[in-house]
Symmetry: C2
Subunit: 378 residues, 2 copies
Amino acid sequence: MQKRYLLTPGPTSVPSEVLLTMSQPIIHHRTKEYRKIFAKVNEGLKYLFQTASDVLIFSSSGTGAMEGAVSNLLSPNDRALVVKGGKFGERFAEICTAYGVEVIPVDVVWGEAVEPKEIESKLAENPDIKAVFTTLCETSTGVVNDIESIGNIVAKHSAALVVDAISGLGAMEYKPDLWHVDVTVGCSQKGLMLPPGLSFISLSEKGWKLVAESQLPKYYFSFLKARKGIGSLESPFTPAISLIIGLNEALQMIREEGIESVWRRHSRLAAAVRAAVRALRLELFAPRTAADAVTAVKVPSEIDGVLLVKKMSEKYGMTIAGGQDHLKGKIFRIATLGYADTFDVISVLAALTMTLSELGYEVELGAAVRAAEEILMK
Amino acid sequence: MQKRYLLTPGPTSVPSEVLLTMSQPIIHHRTKEYRKIFAKVNEGLKYLFQTASDVLIFSSSGTGAMEGAVSNLLSPNDRALVVKGGKFGERFAEICTAYGVEVIPVDVVWGEAVEPKEIESKLAENPDIKAVFTTLCETSTGVVNDIESIGNIVAKHSAALVVDAISGLGAMEYKPDLWHVDVTVGCSQKGLMLPPGLSFISLSEKGWKLVAESQLPKYYFSFLKARKGIGSLESPFTPAISLIIGLNEALQMIREEGIESVWRRHSRLAAAVRAAVRALRLELFAPRTAADAVTAVKVPSEIDGVLLVKKMSEKYGMTIAGGQDHLKGKIFRIATLGYADTFDVISVLAALTMTLSELGYEVELGAAVRAAEEILMK
């Protein structure tokens, strides 16, 4: 017998309560019974998103909602400012390009956060920019961007601010209404503790104004159709019913814990991971701007990073993530995201310690866990 | 205690085996374990689709894949022939229009199948038509179209044939490779016995040639990205993992039964429903072209059709579907689709009999079931 642990930045572990709720017999979505759940889910999502606006639901991966943010806000030949500090920032640029939107890039070294002032100066140089695309937590590098400062800057311009909050949502403080965010993108398999398959969008009034003017083609990801569905409690297309049932359960768990407590829990767990990383004489990939949703760590030069991830999975049943694209083999990522607690952190740190030792990296057994305990006891 | 029965043309009942498989802990999709399942699923889908081509998987409702068929095959200002004989034929027209594709409609009275000759003459008149869009089973009317004849006609032209087989797939004979179908659209919550959330696309070589030339924007539903994912066993975006696990189980069940047996089972069940409808002196909505996936029945003039559906659900726990759009209240639809057997048919017919009687419609108790038994015993 080997227990399996999932500590990747998506998909994340799903609580058994949620898994079992989803194994109930399927109900039809044009029924009173379903509409009651849909109404509860709509309220719960507003709480999770900390917004007074409606949160639209799509049956898709997060990328589908990212595409929706482009195709619903913009028109052909519009110009968009895109912060490219990792794989998911770059994805926004790819989507814009696919839709004939001109990308003005803000190139950020992977592992660093964007300087809000750089956005300010690009907006001043290009007053015709229609939208600014960035990420709350850049999943590929474990970097958190200062959305509050960016929001204060973008609010002074006509451009809308679009934030991919996919891996940050339900893990890190996020207040789109206070921070002047116009479009937030979220999805199910991160802080929400659900399987992949649902994505979410919330919009400010400024965002909805752009939607009204947008000329790019869309149908399945039409924000107007989805909003109409919330008003009538009738999804425009057949929803992923079992995932919605699970969503209802997960949102209740988050409400019971309280969103501030959820944020604090993630903050405490990530602080413990970071302290342990230092105790192992390893280097954080984003020391100054580390996100609480996922911690990226540099692989020491004497170690094979791909083998490290493989060995942790095969020998210890502990699935963590490696690096993506040009970071493959150079970093590994531990996500204490969603359904994670003290002993998930202790376990992954012990597995990391033993694996590093077995790969010939000099390490003091117990040191990582000791450093973590000091933080986790507080 | 009241047992619930789901006999709508999507969502359909999911077997407990499948529901429970999906409640297993989530595994990561970039692992050997997941890739093994993905490879099996790819093979199983080819069998279900009865095609030698790859079947692409998307996390979305069926409408997402329908949109993909438009955005991946066509270019702005292309012309498309669209058979509009029901809600889903009309949806293809709506999607084309949203993407700036000119629609040449083939208007068919709801409840009738398209005349293949009408497609032939429209293609002759408009040799620049790039694609012909139609449905195998039009879910809204319970009509089956003669795809084999249509395929033989379209094959003689440069246009590609796109078939929405969403509710027909895994229920009715369908041989896209033999019938010269270029693009088949399917989804999870019909014959496949799964919750909603997955959609599928298979393409012929002629279809792939159009994909190579297409200029419409796409990203999430990119067929090229999805095909690359099949080759490498790496989905381009995070797949709906729990639904894929369920898909693997459902495909195994279909393989064990054998696709021809699955078709025969649906054919037998639908024949029993049709015989019972006649025994109740009710009229089929599509007497000459009734599909085996779903049976549409005219509501007798003395009965309130909306109340009939409501009463069957509330008093008998039997969820069937009403009519959509202008057919609301005028027809009801009984789907013996997917995970359905002899006693689902018997039960729904008994519930229908009792409800009709309670609503004041003159009916001989037992007559419907007797007519069904005569067929089901064969």
